[in-house]
């Protein structure tokens, strides 16, 4: 592989490192992907590149490290400005996309994780209810943002598609591990179709981890978390 002045430090199960890779793919930027096996310990390179949080993903452009997945996506959009736009051009639409991305990170994905980690049935049911409630809100948001187009970003994958779509691997793995359907024809038909389109997009399909592989990994993490306390996400 040719040496690139763009590197992504990531971890294959991490939805956050997918975000950086999808954004680079949209811009057709060649990059070197360095996979960190975080459950085996953090590399010196990672600790040096992100001394504050010590987390992946890190984008390294030349000798400059950029941390935090959504900050990385915006950096990619602004730096490779001649490629297809990732963020909407209208400030209000940008604010809406950022709002939903923050909601997904702060409220929605933690509920997905809770489904797997919950030890008691009540806690599990509550987490499932929160995820389903969120999906109904996102189904509505999809209608408003996409306006009948294939993606939240319109004709092409945009910021909110990336922010949300990166969680589809874990959503499907969670459905498999718990035997429940979260995205459905009856409640979230638009999102179900969007999910299929997102996962099969050329910029996504090679970086989306296999559902079975994630489910197996998930079982290992849950066992560890119930034991001591392990983190896989950046």
């Amino acid at each position: 592989m040719a040496k690139s002045d763009v590197k992504v430090l990531g971890s294959w199960p991490s939805p956050y490192s997918m975000r950086a890779r999808i954004a680079l793919n949209i811009k057709s930027v060649n990059y070197e992907y360095v996979d960190e096996r975080l459950w085996e310990g953090k590399s010196e390179f990672l600790l040096k590149s992100n001394p504050v949080h010590k987390k992946i993903p890190v984008l390294i452009h030349g000798d400059k490290p950029i941390c935090e997945s959504l900050i990385i996506v915006q950096y990619i959009d602004e730096t490779w400005s001649s490629g297809p736009s990732i963020l909407p051009s209208d400030p209000y639409e940008r604010a809406i996309a950022r709002f939903w991305a923050a909601y997904l990170d702060e409220k929605w994905f933690p509920s997905i994780k809770s489904i797997g980690i919950a030890q008691e049935e009540d806690a599990r049911k509550a987490a499932i209810a929160q995820v389903e409630e969120g999906l109904v809100l996102l189904e509505e948001a999809f209608g408003k943002c996409g306006k009948g187009k294939p993606f939240f970003g319109g004709d092409q994958i945009g910021y909110l598609d990336i922010a949300f779509g990166c969680f589809l691997g874990w959503l499907r793995a969670t459905e498999k591990m718990s035997g429940i359907k979260l995205l459905s024809e009856s409640k979230t038909p638009a999102l179900l179709n969007w999910a299929g389109r997102f996962c099969s997009d050329a910029t996504v399909k090679d970086v989306m981890p296999d559902t079975d592989k994630l489910a197996a990994f998930g079982k290992m993490v849950i066992a560890k978390v119930r034991g001591a306390g392990a983190e896989i996400h950046g």
Partner: protein, 219 residues
């Protein structure tokens, strides 16, 4: 064309303060509506149904929620005056990083300092000072995080200064002793009208924190 700008706010909220500063820096005229968070207005519930929190910025009838998003929004719409984010993409990424860091650390640790005690409070104080020192490192010799003028990180971070006295009293420690450079930066920010008019008096904030402690049954 007239622009209608409304801010739903609550006087001690550092998140609300960010918007007050940003709107003042941009010279934007707006109507401020003070919310009683124990009795939220219909307008607040309608404009921010998901989080039901302030601040909410309502621009020509359309709501923008979450203070970091709001500050970026007004920076983008009123981009011709007092830019808050730098123009270089890498500098923007750095600013966003430190704003995110300050936001998460100050909110979480600050709350633990006034609302907990014993080991939990001690750990929060330690991490709080460590976080401030990292921010001091980022500030370096610049007058502001934004360089010669107030920038995004200054706007996001300086509101917490109005809570420092409350943290010091609740945590029985001195922030000035540990982070004198940061305190100097905060005072420099307060020399600007946009900041001094937006931050409440520290003693008033402490009084509010004492009320909250009583209401939540925290000693």
């Amino acid at each position: 064309m007239s622009e209608e700008v409304v801010l739903l706010d609550f006087w001690p909220s550092p998140f609300g303060m960010r918007m007050r500063i940003a709107l003042a820096e941009k010279g934007i005229k707006y109507e401020s509506k003070e919310e009683d968070l124990r009795n939220k207005s219909d307008l607040l519930l309608q404009m921010n149904p998901i989080h039901q929190k302030i601040p909410v910025l309502i621009h020509n009838g359309k709501p923008v929620c979450e203070s970091l998003i709001q500050v970026q929004y007004i920076d983008e719409v009123w981009h011709h005056k007092s830019p808050l984010l730098p123009s270089d993409p890498y500098q923007r990424a750095i600013a966003r990083f430190w704003a995110d860091f300050a936001d998460k650390k100050m909110s979480d640790l600050g709350r633990k300092i006034w609302a907990t005690k014993g080991e939990e409070q001690a750990n929060a104080k330690k991490e709080f000072i460590e976080s401030l020192k990292l921010l001091e490192g980022e500030l370096g010799d610049k007058p502001y995080f934004g360089g010669e003028n107030l920038g995004y990180v200054d706007v996001v971070f300086v509101p917490f200064y109005s809570w420092f006295y409350a943290y010091e009293m609740c945590g029985d420690f001195s922030i000035d002793a540990e982070c004198p450079k940061l305190m100097a930066w905060a005072k420099r920010c307060l020399e600007k009208e946009s900041v001094s008019e937006s931050l409440p008096d520290q003693e008033k904030v402490y009084g509010f924190v004492l009320q909250m402690k009583k209401a939540f049954g925290i000693e």
